[in-house]
């Protein structure tokens, strides 16, 4: 019993939770920026950039906008952050001492949706018309990208007869897993809000989108949540590929390599495209998303 608690706390705070999740997320975000900069013929930021961006925001004074409930103003990013830490702790990364039980996938999906929900609420409560437009767009996009995202995860669960994430990580690589990874990748573009699906953050028409009124510590927490979300969502794709390997170091290596490849692919897509409008993005997910889902489900059931 005692052991279980210690393991859970280790998973939440160190591996794969807060500390390593943040470091890994920051690393992935830095790599995105650097890679895009190099593609555009620039030098790009030094590798510690996201780390210092976070600490600088912590050190700034926080201005609570007029007419906004201060408790709600702070609570939203904190709830989002806590849910994403718990979600990370569920991730069966190699060497994790974390919690694992039948049905943890359902909990994970719920926890992943929390920060998005908090974002949308944050957009509405800050009483800025820009944030509200951004929140509407994010809400619409959530409905769209969840189709391939949930479709892929459910198809895998059906195939493996299990709703346990550890089973996913232990499963051998098959056509179904690869298709599922592709579907997850398609959803990832919108989940990370990169081009061509960056419309909720479209700086040019709605200033800074949902977080336009946020500043200082709460903004830093949102940024941290974003970093953790990045490592979680990329990690979720990575664990599909570590099944066949037995040595923990090999598993770690594959986990890391797949994550880097996924981030690079994301950024190649982002650098080569313009921003799509909401209705275009929605249409994209409802046509290609359905196609991908059907394909994954078919592969899961037949192959």
């Amino acid at each position: 019993m005692n052991n279980w608690w210690i393991n859970a706390i280790l998973a939440l705070l160190f591996w794969p939770g807060l500390l390593s999740g943040a470091l890994f997320g920051w690393f992935l975000l830095w790599m995105s920026r650097k890679f895009i900069a190099r593609l555009q013929g620039r030098q790009g930021p030094p590798f510690y950039q996201p780390f210092f961006d976070f600490w600088k925001l912590i050190g700034k004074k926080t201005i609570i906008p007029n007419g906004v409930n201060p408790v709600l103003f702070y609570a939203l990013p904190i709830i989002g952050l806590i849910s994403i830490i718990f979600a990370l702790a569920l991730l069966p990364v190699p060497g994790s001492s974390g919690i694992s039980f039948e049905g943890d996938l359902v909990l994970l999906i719920y926890l992943i949706e929390m920060p998005v929900l908090m974002d949308v609420i944050a957009g509405y409560v800050t009483r800025s018309v820009y944030a509200q437009v951004g929140a509407t767009r994010e809400a619409i996009l959530t409905i769209a990208y969840n189709l391939p995202f949930l479709g892929a995860l459910i198809a895998l669960a059906v195939r493996l007869h299990s709703f346990k994430l550890a089973t996913f990580a232990a499963a051998p690589i098959s056509i179904a897993t690869i298709l599922a990874a592709v579907a997850l990748f398609v959803a990832l573009l919108a989940q990370l809000k990169v081009n061509p699906f960056s419309i909720p953050n479209a700086e040019q028409e709605i200033v800074a989108g949902i977080h336009v009124e946020y500043n200082g510590l709460p903004l830093a927490l949102f940024e941290l949540t974003h970093a953790l979300e990045t490592s979680l969502l990329v990690g979720l794709i990575s664990i599909l590929f570590i099944g066949p390997f037995t040595s923990i170091w090999m598993k770690l290596l594959i986990f890391f390599v797949v994550a880097v490849v996924v981030i690079l692919l994301t950024n190649i897509t982002a650098a080569g495209t313009a921003r799509l409008k909401v209705q275009h993005a929605f249409k994209f997910y409802w046509t290609w998303g359905i196609a991908a889902t059907v394909l994954v489900v078919a592969a899961a059931l037949i192959l």
């Binding site: 555009q40 018309v129 081009n195 960056s198 479209a202 700086e203 040019q204 028409e205 313009a274 409008k277």
Partner: protein, 359 residues
Amino acid sequence: MPYKLPLGPLHPAFEEPYKLTLSCKGEIVEDAQVEVGFVMRSIELLAQRRNYIRDLVLVEHVCGICSNVHASTMAMAVEKIGGITVPDRARYIRTIMGELERLHSHLLWAGIGAEDIGYHSMFMEIYFLRERVMDILEAISGNRVNYGMISLGGVTRDITDPKSILAMAEEIKKGLEKVVIPIFTQDKTIIARTKGIGTLSKDDALMYGTVGPLARASGIEEDIRESFPYAAYDDLGFKKVVLDSCDVQARVVVRALEMMESIRLIEEALKNLPSGPIRPEQVPLTIPDGEATARSEAPRGEVFYYVKSNGTDTPARVKIRTPSFVNIPSIRAMVKGQYLADMPLIQASIDPCCSCTDR
């Protein structure tokens, strides 16, 4: 539920302060109100208190992007009143500066337009090329912005080494042909974001009195460089670009093709640069009684100057009409029924310049 979305006066999509109040229903824009005047510096009033030499510097600051054309149009009006003839070499150098300015302005616009549809990589490509144009401008005038090249009756600095400039121009031409023109005219995401968006019919364009690439993209055949040539355009020959699809894409293509024509004019002028002085030996400080108008084609369209002189060294009245002053009101005709996400691009497609509009 209809709501009002204010864009500006300070907004990341706008280079300058002006206010666009959109009445929206969901993501659809129903109407727009434009408010200008934030950059009012009373340049016309100041010009009526300073002598002609200081005025040329002052009117350059009407707009930092098309500074040269303001100075040269003011000089043209004053030269008409004073009967000053401009030497051939100066006419050619004025043309070269005018076309270089057009190149840098169109590239600047293209970069901002790319940013407005969230295409950062294209912004970077275009700004990389634009730096080459800035290099030429710096090599000729010694400055990157606000060149101070125009004097009454001529220009202040000579082009001493046309060959090296020609080589640099060649490089820009390659960049335009390989990068900018294909992106502008063929890139799928760009076409998806621009085709059929922000239509301004020919009738509306006439009614609002629009000028420049905006008017030419709506089928109005008007380019002063061709219809009423000044500087060296008569000698060099000029072909205007007119399209009639009236949407944002047409404006993109018109500007892209205009850049090719500009680079041709620059090369032609550099190759045939006449020898001789760059300004008359003696330029009078006082200008005789009289009034004159002058027009020339700035990157954004027709610039109009009216100068009245009362025989002293200070003009009695300087009236400046800039292209954006007539182009900006036409936003209203373009936005009805468009998506909110297209608004930054639509307002950018007319290339609004508020420091011109307000003066």
